[in-house]
Symmetry: C2
Subunit: 213 residues, 2 copies
Protein backbone atom coordinates (compact mmCIF):
# COMPACT_ATOMS: atom_id res chain seq x y z
CA UNK A 1 0.00 0.00 0.00
CA UNK A 2 2.78 2.47 -0.82
CA UNK A 3 3.38 5.35 -3.20
CA UNK A 4 5.44 5.00 -6.35
CA UNK A 5 3.59 2.60 -8.67
CA UNK A 6 5.46 0.88 -11.52
CA UNK A 7 4.19 1.73 -14.95
CA UNK A 8 3.93 -1.96 -15.75
CA UNK A 9 1.55 -2.38 -12.83
CA UNK A 10 -0.73 0.35 -14.16
CA UNK A 11 -0.87 -1.28 -17.56
CA UNK A 12 -1.68 -4.65 -16.11
CA UNK A 13 -4.42 -3.09 -14.01
CA UNK A 14 -5.95 -1.82 -17.23
CA UNK A 15 -5.93 -5.37 -18.56
CA UNK A 16 -7.43 -6.79 -15.39
CA UNK A 17 -10.23 -4.28 -15.61
CA UNK A 18 -11.03 -5.29 -19.15
CA UNK A 19 -11.14 -8.95 -18.14
CA UNK A 20 -13.35 -8.12 -15.18
CA UNK A 21 -15.78 -6.24 -17.38
CA UNK A 22 -16.18 -9.25 -19.63
CA UNK A 23 -16.76 -11.44 -16.57
CA UNK A 24 -19.25 -8.93 -15.24
CA UNK A 25 -21.32 -9.15 -18.41
CA UNK A 26 -21.20 -12.93 -18.20
CA UNK A 27 -22.41 -12.73 -14.63
CA UNK A 28 -19.36 -14.33 -12.98
CA UNK A 29 -19.63 -13.29 -9.32
CA UNK A 30 -16.07 -13.80 -8.12
CA UNK A 31 -12.64 -14.42 -9.54
CA UNK A 32 -9.33 -15.64 -8.13
CA UNK A 33 -5.95 -14.08 -8.75
CA UNK A 34 -5.11 -17.22 -10.68
CA UNK A 35 -8.01 -16.74 -13.11
CA UNK A 36 -7.30 -13.02 -13.52
CA UNK A 37 -3.68 -13.84 -14.21
CA UNK A 38 -4.61 -16.15 -17.06
CA UNK A 39 -6.71 -13.46 -18.72
CA UNK A 40 -4.04 -10.84 -18.24
CA UNK A 41 -1.17 -13.05 -19.36
CA UNK A 42 0.69 -12.94 -16.08
CA UNK A 43 0.99 -14.84 -12.79
CA UNK A 44 -1.26 -15.03 -9.76
CA UNK A 45 1.44 -13.60 -7.50
CA UNK A 46 1.88 -10.68 -9.87
CA UNK A 47 -1.84 -9.93 -9.81
CA UNK A 48 -1.90 -9.90 -6.03
CA UNK A 49 1.22 -7.77 -5.82
CA UNK A 50 -0.20 -5.30 -8.31
CA UNK A 51 -3.42 -4.96 -6.37
CA UNK A 52 -1.62 -4.76 -3.04
CA UNK A 53 -0.12 -1.43 -4.12
CA UNK A 54 -3.56 0.05 -3.76
CA UNK A 55 -5.13 -1.83 -0.88
CA UNK A 56 -6.63 -5.24 -0.29
CA UNK A 57 -9.76 -5.97 -2.23
CA UNK A 58 -10.09 -9.74 -1.98
CA UNK A 59 -11.54 -12.24 0.44
CA UNK A 60 -9.17 -15.01 1.47
CA UNK A 61 -10.36 -18.41 0.45
CA UNK A 62 -12.82 -16.89 -2.01
CA UNK A 63 -11.15 -14.46 -4.36
CA UNK A 64 -12.34 -11.05 -5.57
CA UNK A 65 -15.89 -9.88 -6.14
CA UNK A 66 -15.98 -9.09 -9.85
CA UNK A 67 -18.14 -5.95 -9.76
CA UNK A 68 -16.44 -4.62 -6.65
CA UNK A 69 -12.91 -5.09 -7.93
CA UNK A 70 -13.88 -3.60 -11.28
CA UNK A 71 -15.20 -0.57 -9.52
CA UNK A 72 -12.06 -0.15 -7.45
CA UNK A 73 -9.86 -0.50 -10.52
CA UNK A 74 -11.91 2.16 -12.28
CA UNK A 75 -11.26 4.46 -9.34
CA UNK A 76 -7.55 3.71 -9.46
CA UNK A 77 -7.24 4.36 -13.19
CA UNK A 78 -9.15 7.62 -12.94
CA UNK A 79 -12.16 6.41 -14.89
CA UNK A 80 -14.79 7.84 -12.57
CA UNK A 81 -14.87 11.13 -14.42
CA UNK A 82 -15.03 11.95 -18.11
CA UNK A 83 -11.82 13.20 -19.69
CA UNK A 84 -11.72 15.92 -22.30
CA UNK A 85 -9.43 15.11 -25.18
CA UNK A 86 -8.37 17.16 -28.18
CA UNK A 87 -7.32 15.38 -31.34
CA UNK A 88 -4.64 17.16 -33.34
CA UNK A 89 -4.29 15.83 -36.87
CA UNK A 90 -7.32 14.68 -38.82
CA UNK A 91 -5.44 12.21 -41.01
CA UNK A 92 -5.60 8.45 -41.28
CA UNK A 93 -4.77 7.65 -37.67
CA UNK A 94 -6.78 10.59 -36.40
CA UNK A 95 -9.93 9.49 -38.17
CA UNK A 96 -9.55 5.87 -37.05
CA UNK A 97 -9.32 7.09 -33.47
CA UNK A 98 -12.15 9.52 -33.80
CA UNK A 99 -14.52 6.89 -35.12
CA UNK A 100 -13.57 4.37 -32.48
CA UNK A 101 -16.59 4.25 -30.18
CA UNK A 102 -14.82 2.55 -27.33
CA UNK A 103 -12.97 5.66 -26.16
CA UNK A 104 -16.14 7.59 -25.45
CA UNK A 105 -17.63 4.54 -23.83
CA UNK A 106 -14.66 4.48 -21.53
CA UNK A 107 -14.82 8.10 -20.52
CA UNK A 108 -12.68 9.90 -23.08
CA UNK A 109 -14.58 12.60 -24.96
CA UNK A 110 -13.03 14.05 -28.06
CA UNK A 111 -14.17 17.65 -27.67
CA UNK A 112 -12.36 19.04 -30.70
CA UNK A 113 -10.45 18.02 -33.82
CA UNK A 114 -7.78 20.29 -35.26
CA UNK A 115 -5.82 20.28 -38.51
CA UNK A 116 -3.79 22.67 -40.62
CA UNK A 117 -4.97 21.48 -44.01
CA UNK A 118 -7.37 24.04 -45.56
CA UNK A 119 -9.10 21.19 -47.38
CA UNK A 120 -9.97 19.54 -44.08
CA UNK A 121 -10.74 22.57 -41.92
CA UNK A 122 -14.47 23.09 -41.76
CA UNK A 123 -15.38 19.52 -42.59
CA UNK A 124 -17.83 17.92 -40.22
CA UNK A 125 -16.99 14.66 -38.50
CA UNK A 126 -20.29 13.70 -36.94
CA UNK A 127 -21.07 16.39 -34.41
CA UNK A 128 -17.60 17.90 -34.55
CA UNK A 129 -16.31 20.40 -37.08
CA UNK A 130 -12.59 20.26 -37.87
CA UNK A 131 -11.01 23.49 -36.72
CA UNK A 132 -7.83 25.27 -37.73
CA UNK A 133 -4.87 24.29 -35.60
CA UNK A 134 -4.41 27.94 -34.66
CA UNK A 135 -7.28 27.42 -32.26
CA UNK A 136 -5.32 24.86 -30.23
CA UNK A 137 -4.67 27.19 -27.29
CA UNK A 138 -8.24 28.45 -27.37
CA UNK A 139 -9.67 24.96 -27.35
CA UNK A 140 -7.38 23.55 -24.66
CA UNK A 141 -7.98 26.52 -22.44
CA UNK A 142 -11.69 27.14 -22.95
CA UNK A 143 -12.79 23.50 -23.02
CA UNK A 144 -10.45 22.55 -20.16
CA UNK A 145 -8.77 19.83 -22.13
CA UNK A 146 -6.68 17.36 -20.13
CA UNK A 147 -5.25 15.14 -22.83
CA UNK A 148 -3.98 15.98 -26.30
CA UNK A 149 -3.64 13.27 -28.93
CA UNK A 150 -1.02 14.08 -31.53
CA UNK A 151 -1.64 12.31 -34.82
CA UNK A 152 0.47 14.61 -36.96
CA UNK A 153 3.74 14.27 -38.88
CA UNK A 154 6.87 14.00 -36.74
CA UNK A 155 8.12 17.47 -37.68
CA UNK A 156 5.05 19.12 -36.20
CA UNK A 157 4.79 17.13 -32.99
CA UNK A 158 7.25 18.94 -30.70
CA UNK A 159 5.85 22.39 -31.41
CA UNK A 160 2.25 21.26 -31.02
CA UNK A 161 3.11 19.48 -27.77
CA UNK A 162 4.63 22.67 -26.39
CA UNK A 163 1.61 24.69 -27.41
CA UNK A 164 -0.82 22.21 -25.88
CA UNK A 165 1.15 22.13 -22.64
CA UNK A 166 1.43 25.89 -22.46
CA UNK A 167 -2.33 26.12 -22.80
CA UNK A 168 -2.86 23.69 -19.94
CA UNK A 169 -2.81 20.12 -21.24
CA UNK A 170 -1.39 17.67 -18.75
CA UNK A 171 -0.98 14.54 -20.82
CA UNK A 172 -0.14 13.71 -24.41
CA UNK A 173 -0.67 10.60 -26.47
CA UNK A 174 1.85 10.83 -29.24
CA UNK A 175 1.72 8.85 -32.49
CA UNK A 176 4.63 10.65 -34.12
CA UNK A 177 8.01 8.96 -34.07
CA UNK A 178 9.82 11.59 -32.00
CA UNK A 179 10.72 11.86 -28.37
CA UNK A 180 8.85 14.87 -26.99
CA UNK A 181 10.51 17.26 -24.59
CA UNK A 182 7.96 18.46 -22.10
CA UNK A 183 7.99 19.69 -18.49
CA UNK A 184 8.17 16.99 -15.83
CA UNK A 185 4.55 17.37 -14.74
CA UNK A 186 3.28 16.46 -18.19
CA UNK A 187 2.80 12.77 -18.94
CA UNK A 188 3.47 11.38 -22.39
CA UNK A 189 2.50 8.02 -23.83
CA UNK A 190 3.97 6.92 -27.12
CA UNK A 191 2.49 4.70 -29.76
CA UNK A 192 5.07 3.80 -32.32
CA UNK A 193 4.14 1.06 -34.71
CA UNK A 194 7.50 1.04 -36.42
CA UNK A 195 9.16 0.20 -33.13
CA UNK A 196 6.72 -2.66 -32.62
CA UNK A 197 7.36 -4.09 -36.07
CA UNK A 198 11.10 -3.73 -35.67
CA UNK A 199 10.97 -5.49 -32.31
CA UNK A 200 9.17 -8.33 -34.06
CA UNK A 201 11.61 -8.61 -36.92
CA UNK A 202 14.45 -8.49 -34.39
CA UNK A 203 12.88 -11.34 -32.45
CA UNK A 204 12.32 -13.45 -35.55
CA UNK A 205 15.83 -12.81 -36.78
CA UNK A 206 17.41 -13.70 -33.43
CA UNK A 207 15.28 -16.64 -32.71
CA UNK A 208 14.31 -18.44 -35.84
CA UNK A 209 17.26 -17.43 -37.98
CA UNK A 210 15.80 -15.07 -40.50
CA UNK A 211 12.88 -14.72 -42.83
CA UNK A 212 10.94 -17.62 -44.28
CA UNK A 213 12.36 -18.93 -47.50
Amino acid sequence: MNRRIPDSTVRRISHYLRALEVMGVQGTPTVSSEELAQQGGTTAAQVRKDLSHFGSFGKRGLGYSVPELASRLRDILGLTCRWRVVLVGAGRIGSALFEYPHFARRGYDCVAVLDNDPEKIGMSWGPVRIRPVEELELVVDALKVDIAILAVPAEAAQTLAERAVAAGARAILNFAAVQLRVPAHVHVAYVNLVVELEALSFAITQNGKGRRK
Copy 2:
Protein backbone atom coordinates in the same frame (compact mmCIF):
# COMPACT_ATOMS: atom_id res chain seq x y z
CA MET B 1 28.29 -9.39 -25.51
CA ASN B 2 25.23 -11.31 -26.72
CA ARG B 3 23.28 -12.69 -23.82
CA ARG B 4 19.52 -12.36 -23.83
CA ILE B 5 18.70 -8.82 -24.95
CA PRO B 6 16.19 -6.76 -22.95
CA ASP B 7 13.14 -5.74 -24.88
CA SER B 8 13.72 -2.15 -23.82
CA THR B 9 17.13 -2.25 -25.46
CA VAL B 10 15.63 -3.39 -28.76
CA ARG B 11 13.11 -0.57 -28.67
CA ARG B 12 15.75 2.01 -27.96
CA ILE B 13 17.86 0.66 -30.83
CA SER B 14 14.91 1.32 -33.10
CA HIS B 15 14.87 4.93 -31.89
CA TYR B 16 18.60 5.34 -32.33
CA LEU B 17 18.29 4.11 -35.88
CA ARG B 18 15.61 6.66 -36.65
CA ALA B 19 17.76 9.45 -35.23
CA LEU B 20 20.76 8.23 -37.23
CA GLU B 21 18.77 8.23 -40.43
CA VAL B 22 17.83 11.86 -39.90
CA MET B 23 21.47 12.70 -39.25
CA GLY B 24 22.48 10.74 -42.32
CA VAL B 25 20.22 12.85 -44.51
CA GLN B 26 21.64 15.98 -42.94
CA GLY B 27 25.13 14.76 -43.73
CA THR B 28 26.40 14.52 -40.13
CA PRO B 29 29.43 12.22 -40.34
CA THR B 30 29.80 11.08 -36.73
CA VAL B 31 27.83 11.13 -33.52
CA SER B 32 28.68 10.59 -29.86
CA SER B 33 26.72 8.46 -27.44
CA GLU B 34 25.80 11.71 -25.70
CA GLU B 35 24.16 13.15 -28.82
CA LEU B 36 22.36 9.91 -29.62
CA ALA B 37 21.08 9.78 -26.07
CA GLN B 38 19.50 13.21 -26.40
CA GLN B 39 17.62 12.22 -29.52
CA GLY B 40 16.50 8.95 -28.02
CA GLY B 41 15.48 10.45 -24.68
CA THR B 42 17.96 8.45 -22.61
CA THR B 43 21.50 8.67 -21.25
CA ALA B 44 24.90 8.28 -22.90
CA ALA B 45 25.78 5.30 -20.70
CA GLN B 46 22.53 3.61 -21.68
CA VAL B 47 23.29 4.07 -25.36
CA ARG B 48 26.72 2.53 -24.98
CA LYS B 49 25.39 -0.33 -22.89
CA ASP B 50 22.66 -1.02 -25.45
CA LEU B 51 25.15 -1.12 -28.29
CA SER B 52 27.65 -3.19 -26.32
CA HIS B 53 25.17 -6.06 -26.30
CA PHE B 54 25.89 -6.47 -29.98
CA GLY B 55 29.52 -5.53 -30.37
CA SER B 56 31.62 -2.38 -30.41
CA PHE B 57 30.90 -0.02 -33.24
CA GLY B 58 32.48 3.23 -32.11
CA LYS B 59 35.89 4.85 -32.18
CA ARG B 60 37.14 6.06 -28.81
CA GLY B 61 37.70 9.76 -28.75
CA LEU B 62 35.58 10.23 -31.84
CA GLY B 63 32.17 8.60 -31.55
CA TYR B 64 30.24 6.54 -34.06
CA SER B 65 30.22 6.85 -37.83
CA VAL B 66 26.59 7.70 -38.65
CA PRO B 67 26.19 5.62 -41.82
CA GLU B 68 28.15 2.71 -40.39
CA LEU B 69 26.25 2.54 -37.13
CA ALA B 70 22.95 2.93 -38.98
CA SER B 71 23.88 -0.01 -41.15
CA ARG B 72 24.83 -2.15 -38.17
CA LEU B 73 21.58 -1.30 -36.38
CA ARG B 74 19.63 -2.27 -39.48
CA ASP B 75 21.38 -5.63 -39.41
CA ILE B 76 20.55 -6.07 -35.75
CA LEU B 77 16.88 -5.23 -36.17
CA GLY B 78 16.56 -7.53 -39.13
CA LEU B 79 15.94 -4.77 -41.67
CA THR B 80 18.26 -6.10 -44.32
CA CYS B 81 15.53 -8.16 -45.91
CA ARG B 82 11.94 -7.35 -46.81
CA TRP B 83 9.28 -8.82 -44.55
CA ARG B 84 6.02 -10.16 -45.83
CA VAL B 85 3.06 -9.06 -43.81
CA VAL B 86 -0.59 -10.00 -43.98
CA LEU B 87 -3.19 -7.55 -42.72
CA VAL B 88 -6.26 -9.17 -41.20
CA GLY B 89 -9.13 -6.71 -40.77
CA ALA B 90 -9.79 -4.02 -43.33
CA GLY B 91 -11.48 -1.60 -40.93
CA ARG B 92 -10.47 1.80 -39.64
CA ILE B 93 -7.14 0.80 -38.14
CA GLY B 94 -6.40 -1.59 -40.96
CA SER B 95 -6.88 1.05 -43.62
CA ALA B 96 -4.80 3.61 -41.73
CA LEU B 97 -1.97 1.09 -41.56
CA PHE B 98 -2.32 0.02 -45.14
CA GLU B 99 -2.09 3.55 -46.44
CA TYR B 100 0.89 4.40 -44.27
CA PRO B 101 3.79 4.58 -46.72
CA HIS B 102 6.49 4.35 -44.09
CA PHE B 103 6.11 0.62 -43.47
CA ALA B 104 6.93 -0.32 -47.02
CA ARG B 105 9.78 2.14 -47.02
CA ARG B 106 11.16 0.32 -44.02
CA GLY B 107 10.93 -3.14 -45.44
CA TYR B 108 7.49 -4.36 -44.49
CA ASP B 109 5.39 -5.35 -47.49
CA CYS B 110 1.70 -5.88 -47.01
CA VAL B 111 1.20 -8.78 -49.40
CA ALA B 112 -2.48 -9.36 -48.65
CA VAL B 113 -5.49 -7.86 -46.90
CA LEU B 114 -8.21 -10.10 -45.51
CA ASP B 115 -11.66 -9.45 -44.09
CA ASN B 116 -14.89 -11.34 -43.45
CA ASP B 117 -17.29 -8.60 -44.46
CA PRO B 118 -18.91 -9.45 -47.84
CA GLU B 119 -19.22 -5.73 -48.53
CA LYS B 120 -15.47 -5.32 -48.29
CA ILE B 121 -14.28 -8.54 -49.90
CA GLY B 122 -13.33 -7.89 -53.50
CA MET B 123 -12.72 -4.16 -53.04
CA SER B 124 -9.40 -2.92 -54.36
CA TRP B 125 -7.01 -1.06 -52.15
CA GLY B 126 -4.44 0.20 -54.58
CA PRO B 127 -2.79 -2.87 -56.05
CA VAL B 128 -4.29 -5.21 -53.46
CA ARG B 129 -7.72 -6.80 -53.55
CA ILE B 130 -9.36 -7.54 -50.22
CA ARG B 131 -9.72 -11.29 -49.87
CA PRO B 132 -12.04 -13.43 -47.79
CA VAL B 133 -10.55 -14.35 -44.44
CA GLU B 134 -10.97 -18.02 -45.34
CA GLU B 135 -7.88 -17.59 -47.47
CA LEU B 136 -5.71 -16.81 -44.45
CA GLU B 137 -3.94 -20.17 -44.42
CA LEU B 138 -3.52 -20.10 -48.18
CA VAL B 139 -2.00 -16.64 -48.11
CA VAL B 140 0.32 -17.20 -45.15
CA ASP B 141 1.55 -20.43 -46.60
CA ALA B 142 1.82 -19.60 -50.27
CA LEU B 143 3.20 -16.10 -49.86
CA LYS B 144 5.54 -17.13 -47.04
CA VAL B 145 4.18 -14.53 -44.68
CA ASP B 146 6.26 -13.87 -41.56
CA ILE B 147 4.14 -11.33 -39.72
CA ALA B 148 0.36 -11.09 -39.30
CA ILE B 149 -1.24 -7.83 -38.25
CA LEU B 150 -4.55 -8.36 -36.47
CA ALA B 151 -6.83 -5.33 -36.74
CA VAL B 152 -10.05 -7.16 -35.97
CA PRO B 153 -12.52 -7.15 -33.08
CA ALA B 154 -11.26 -8.75 -29.86
CA GLU B 155 -13.56 -11.77 -30.18
CA ALA B 156 -11.97 -12.79 -33.46
CA ALA B 157 -8.33 -12.25 -32.54
CA GLN B 158 -7.45 -15.49 -30.73
CA THR B 159 -8.84 -17.76 -33.44
CA LEU B 160 -7.22 -15.80 -36.23
CA ALA B 161 -3.90 -15.79 -34.37
CA GLU B 162 -4.03 -19.56 -34.06
CA ARG B 163 -4.85 -19.96 -37.71
CA ALA B 164 -2.05 -17.65 -38.78
CA VAL B 165 0.44 -19.47 -36.57
CA ALA B 166 -0.68 -22.89 -37.75
CA ALA B 167 -0.09 -21.74 -41.31
CA GLY B 168 3.43 -20.60 -40.50
CA ALA B 169 3.38 -17.01 -39.23
CA ARG B 170 6.08 -16.33 -36.69
CA ALA B 171 5.06 -12.96 -35.33
CA ILE B 172 1.84 -11.09 -34.69
CA LEU B 173 1.10 -7.43 -34.22
CA ASN B 174 -2.16 -7.35 -32.34
CA PHE B 175 -4.45 -4.32 -32.06
CA ALA B 176 -7.24 -6.16 -30.31
CA ALA B 177 -7.52 -5.79 -26.56
CA VAL B 178 -6.92 -9.43 -25.69
CA GLN B 179 -3.92 -11.38 -24.56
CA LEU B 180 -3.16 -13.93 -27.25
CA ARG B 181 -2.15 -17.45 -26.37
CA VAL B 182 0.39 -18.67 -28.87
CA PRO B 183 3.27 -21.16 -28.89
CA ALA B 184 6.53 -19.93 -27.35
CA HIS B 185 8.31 -19.53 -30.67
CA VAL B 186 5.76 -16.98 -31.89
CA HIS B 187 6.38 -13.35 -30.97
CA VAL B 188 3.51 -11.01 -30.24
CA ALA B 189 3.52 -7.23 -30.00
CA TYR B 190 0.49 -5.46 -28.63
CA VAL B 191 -0.82 -2.03 -29.45
CA ASN B 192 -3.52 -1.08 -27.03
CA LEU B 193 -4.61 2.52 -27.08
CA VAL B 194 -7.02 2.11 -24.22
CA VAL B 195 -4.15 1.02 -21.98
CA GLU B 196 -2.18 4.09 -23.02
CA LEU B 197 -5.04 6.45 -22.28
CA GLU B 198 -5.74 4.79 -18.97
CA ALA B 199 -2.09 5.03 -17.99
CA LEU B 200 -2.34 8.75 -18.73
CA SER B 201 -5.48 9.33 -16.73
CA PHE B 202 -3.96 7.32 -13.89
CA ALA B 203 -0.88 9.53 -13.96
CA ILE B 204 -2.91 12.74 -14.02
CA THR B 205 -5.14 11.55 -11.21
CA GLN B 206 -2.20 10.51 -9.03
CA ASN B 207 -0.05 13.45 -9.74
CA GLY B 208 -2.09 16.53 -10.31
CA LYS B 209 -5.14 15.61 -8.24
CA GLY B 210 -7.80 14.92 -10.82
CA ARG B 211 -9.28 16.46 -13.89
CA ARG B 212 -9.19 20.17 -14.71
CA LYS B 213 -12.12 22.07 -13.31
